[in-house]
């Protein structure tokens, strides 16, 4: 799960130096990952730093595409050879009080895979950004980003 909320003072960030899950990825292939994984994470953080859903739609589209493409580059070079795949996930949790301290929680998520993102097209991508932007402005939902690592085989391609 990425920290931050995409604002100027709190940009999205993956603390790969302290996050045990991120660090554990080294064990996929220690001799290779030890060298390349921090570089990949560092560049991912640089791209995440400029991603903000509060920006203009066109800018956000470009930034989001950059992040998704970078994750795909990571997949091709680092993770797919180790039968793993990283996917950017967009989470939306909304809470609604039902009665007496009980809350109804709606949990939605969208995998932002390069293929899915490409299939979205301009219109759908723009709709997604406007949807997230509206949710953030109203502040009724919790919008988070996460990178999910899953088992991957050549057949999945």
């Amino acid at each position: 799960m990425l920290s931050g909320c995409g604002t100027f003072n709190s940009p999205y960030y993956l603390n790969f130096e302290k996050d045990p899950y991120a660090k554990a990825l080294v064990y996929l292939r220690e001799e290779k990952m030890k060298k390349d994984l921090p570089i990949w994470f560092n560049n991912l953080n640089a791209l995440l730093g400029k991603l903000s859903f509060y920006k203009l739609g066109v800018q956000t589209m470009k930034d989001l595409t950059d992040v998704i493409q970078w994750i795909e580059v990571g997949n091709k070079t680092l993770f797919n050879p180790e039968n793993t795949k990283a996917t950017l996930y967009l989470f939306e949790n909304s809470y609604q009080e039902v009665e007496g301290g009980s809350f109804k929680q709606k949990r939605r998520s969208l995998p932002l895979d390069e293929k899915i993102w490409a299939s979205f097209g301009w219109e759908m991508g723009h709709d997604l950004i406007r949807f997230v932007q509206a949710k953030l402005m109203v502040k009724k939902s919790e919008i988070r980003l996460g990178v999910l690592f899953r088992e991957h085989t050549r057949d999945d391609e």
Binding site: K32, N42, N43, N45, T77, F91, S109, Q133, A134
Partner: protein
Amino acid sequence: MQLTTMSNKKNVNIDPSPLFLSDDEDEQERVTKETSTSFASAQNTLGAIRHNKADEEEGKQEDDEVLDEANMSETKVYVHGEKETHMEYVKIIDNSRRAFETSLASTRAFTKSLRKPRSSCGDRCIRFRATVYAFWILFFKHHGKAPGEKGLYSIFLAFSVLIAFDIMLLMSMLGHIFGPVSNFQSIGVTFLLTYPLITIMAPICGTLGCILGSPDLLKSQSSMNAAAVLLNYPATLAVMLYKQDEAVYIACVIVLWFNKIALSFVGAKVRQHLINPGFVKNESKFRDMAERQDNSMNQFPRDRYLTKVNHEEEGDELKPLSVNLLD
């Protein structure tokens, strides 16, 4: 959650997901559990030591909420980091207890809510607010992108020129505010004290950020600039117009205002470069690797593209192609 306390025995009606309910849990029935808990046994564990009665009650409640192992689902996981990667089955708490959902159902719910038409007046107002805020971010809180290797020094030069220009304009404004001192009571208060001293602190932070190469100081400078542009400068401008101040100084405040936009654009690039100086180089290296990986995958069939083959007899291990390419 309903909790009924009796003297020796407790009837606790527990909702299986006491705080958060997901869409698919709406239909779940409430489970009634009869428990006869003894707090004494709980004290024998190495858990938190509870001292007062309120904590005891809380402790019992927590114990009741612990999910029964039978309700946990088994999941296949791969264990890395040992000599050989192996597979294990582990029991995890059911999906309804997770804070975030990644299932197909949650994705379907997301796409469904995306398709909902949003054209009401309220939605348009929100969109308008979002657009205004987006322009504000674009001009004064620019996130920036790491610059390429070309033109790096021209960006540094532009940034230092803009900071020097900012300081020069500030000095001229300070000269106007304190000469005569009576000006301080009118424009001085709005310029320096609306947000206290940020108009002076921002260029100082910028200069220090340049000298020390600190992205944090540059970020502080950018935040202060945004605050000054939002309140201090418009208030000063309003007072100057009201008092019919000299046109030169009115122009000075307007130029300061526009200078902040340029500082935000160029400063963001400098900041991003200081955060990750090797961004462009590393990016091109990884992209080259990905390209070569693509080419090799097209050229060689799967059985030759080895991920891991252990030759136990010889004791050697073939590396994946990417490692060889890297080496």
